[in-house]
Symmetry: C2
Subunit: 355 residues, 2 copies
């Protein structure tokens, strides 16, 4: 057992604060990663505050982790010390159900082990995430991070990136497809970059005129203000595929009618009820689907795709100590487009303090 | 122009009553059909009462039509006098959009011409449905009716049958699939028969214990009472495909969680808003789709399939004069499972009266 520095939510109502956690000793297939950068996902905040049901406290959030391998177990074959490694939302799964067999560990029928706010399958010890100096994971749930990318912007790919890549990949989006992304935030900005790189014609739906310019800068070909009735009407039956990243309950019908026949609208943001009417679905055999992150092999594929196309997230780097301020700003959508914690700097400070 | 006997809604609030309508003279590709049987669909009632927006009055409902061809235009190649013929929900479409080119006239991008409460593409004359002694349609929108089936039970196949067959066919349901049908009415009872004939393992979801026995008689392999919490819990993640035939706004979430990963729930009944949460969709990449009747070629395929498997609707025959009583009973779900009007008898009475 190693004690490592971390930031944790002590309970559902207090701010995050410094905390010491235990990381397990290396098992034969484990790798130990010194964390360089840790992305800040909205779900970190939700779970820190027990907004998705009661969380396990103290809770160390963070599931967008990039770091460098510093030790490997004796049976590890895919990583060696010095390699870059990434860890996303999962650190384990049952490995024997149909979903796991298909590489869809996120849909594990026995429940995946999440990177934090979850429990180890064997010891039932709580898992702790990336707001910490080190993490130990089985190599099967770590991915290779291309050395060529700006690592700070890679961290958010491990959740925001794969959340958008997986539906685009699963529904085989590419050249010749018209794709729309609803909402420009951490997820939306990745959706634009990825769909554009896949060759699709990409439109952003937003309610904010201020985001239009940014969307075009990010590569979007078109922007539609969803409160512009004439523009919405002109967009009827025009998209093959839409991903809604809106994080709260919202009415899907204005977007559904902009899908072509047999088009899909995929929800990745809202876990709350969404408004759906039978008419726009039935009249052109449209569908609404959900999608949840991506499997480990697909996450690797996504990182390789990002390396090939030079894609990283647009980020704002913060100090670990500023996480509570970052949460408040995140609640006001005051971030373009993802906070990333400089864990390397935090580790250096801790090491210095200990000297 | 020929004058034919019919029953029509004179306005949105009056009962249906005897009415004389004009049927067009045969165009070169037209066939004239003496109607034998006309099914009574819930949408007849909705439109008679302007419940889907203002209808065109006087309105002659009926889009489940079986009859015998009595005359054909000079360019007609697929029918001859004496043939049985069926007409469903559509009598024309643009014939040049992508949907029409794919044989999906129901999704015609320029709007299909519906069998009633619609307007002819050329003359803009209102279309009139099957509650009449004759109909004239272009042969491309008539289907061949197998002589081997009980014709009274064939009429409802033209709407209720194809409405259920089309999603089962489109989503390639067959042997090895677990299918659930929500609701046992005109649509639901056809869904059970068709899905069973396709080789699927079929479950009925119903709130009514009284319908359980009937579902099993119709061929369903299992029945789940949707108000039985333990049974609903046991059914989690067990179906490949669900069709909800519930005609009103309803909460889909209890059914969504019974779908396996990547399963589809198709709405064919409710055109009102349905309750959908992001969680059951995202957690297993499930989807909710809509479906609207079927194309002409698919309708023919459905009739041929029904002939092969000896499938017709369970019906209760009524006299044309009893249509208003039938509507009231339909509103109370007091029909097993479709009313069919004996138009042959009505025509005979009219002929006798005219002698």
């Amino acid at each position: 057992m190693t004690h490592v520095h971390a930031f944790a939510a002590p309970d559902a109502t207090s701010p995050l604060q410094p905390h010491t956690i235990e990381r397990r000793d290396l098992k034969p297939t484990d790798i130990k990663i010194e964390i360089l950068y840790s992305g800040v996902c909205h779900s970190d905040l939700h779970q820190a505050r027990s907004e998705w049901g009661p969380s396990i406290y103290p809770l160390v959030p963070g599931h967008e982790i990039v770091g460098r391998v510093v030790a490997v177990g004796e049976q590890v074959t895919r990583f060696k010390a010095g390699d870059l490694a990434g860890v996303g939302c999962m650190v384990d799964s049952c490995q024997h159900c149909d979903a796991c067999a298909e590489g869809l560990e996120q849909y594990c029928e026995n429940g995946a082990t999440w990177t934090y706010n979850s429990r180890e399958r064997d010891t039932k010890a709580p898992t702790h995430g990336g707001y910490s100096t080190e993490i130990v994971v089985t190599e099967g749930f770590a991915v290779h991070v291309p050395e060529t990318l700006d690592l700070k912007g890679v961290a958010p790919l491990l959740c925001a990136g794969i959340t958008m890549y997986s539906p685009l990949n699963h529904w085989k989006i590419g050249k010749g497809h018209k794709v729309a992304i609803v909402g420009l935030g951490g997820l939306g900005h990745m959706g634009i970059k990825l769909a554009v790189a896949m060759g699709a014609d990409v439109t952003l739906f937003t309610t904010s005129q201020g985001k239009a310019e940014d969307a075009l800068r990010l590569g979007a070909h078109h922007v539609i203000l969803s409160n512009d009735k004439a523009a919405m009407k002109a967009a009827r039956s025009s998209f093959d595929f839409i991903i809604s990243t809106v994080p709260t309950s919202h009415d899907l019908n204005p977007y559904l009618v902009t899908l072509k026949r047999d088009g899909h609208l995929v929800i990745v943001g809202a876990l709350e009820p969404v408004g759906v009417s039978g008419v726009p679905l039935a009249l052109q055999r449209r569908s609404v689907a959900g999608s949840n992150i991506g499997g480990i092999a697909e996450t690797q594929k996504m990182l390789d795709f990002c390396a090939e196309h030079g894609i990283v997230a647009d980020i704002e780097m913060i100090r670990m100590q500023d996480i509570n301020t970052a949460y408040e700003r995140m609640l006001k959508n005051d971030v373009k487009y993802r906070f990333v914690i400089d864990m390397a700097a935090f580790r250096a400070e801790q090491d210095q303090a200990a000297d």
